[in-house]
Symmetry: C2
Subunit: 95 residues, 2 copies
């Protein structure tokens, strides 16, 4: 199991622009056969700070996600409106 937190920082004037792109990304990703969970959240203190919490069976499944048509099309469109580079964190379950 691989848990992922991916964070995006969007310019305030472009939050409405990216919203439908995020919506499509979430919908299409959830249809990927290897996707266990994929949800998007917004920082209560910063409406341009978007946080994905994801779960994949393994690194290969995450890599496959990053190679899908929807990821390769939508992520660069979203990234045009960043105010700072995105971050991501790959984690294992604590045992």
């Amino acid at each position: 199991m691989l848990k992922v937190i991916a964070q995006d920082f969007i310019k305030p004037e472009h939050i409405a622009t990216v919203a439908p792109l995020y919506r499509e990304l979430v919908e299409r990703t959830r249809q990927e056969p290897l996707c266990i969970s994929y949800a998007l959240y917004v920082d209560e203190k910063d409406p341009g700070h978007f946080v994905f919490i994801e779960e994949w069976p393994d690194r290969a499944a995450l890599d496959a996600h990053c190679s899908t048509e929807h990821f390769r099309r939508l992520v660069p469109l979203i990234d045009q409106y960043q105010r700072a580079p995105g971050t991501y964190l790959l984690m294992d379950a604590f045992r």
Copy 2:
């Protein structure tokens, strides 16, 4: 619904010390009646970087969690072994 990411940074020589404290904190928190989900993860690149992903019905439920006996007893014990201050992020679901 309130989603929370809480991150702790533990000194490498104390990871084994905090492990049973984290285990007890997770077990007891999951028994709280208002806890929707509460899971602990470890950064793949940093074994002292612990990440809680939590879900609560609302802020009052999170505040109640922070007032429990187990939270007030275990968190200060864990925090003794921090190498940097913990962080937390409160989020709403994206719609």
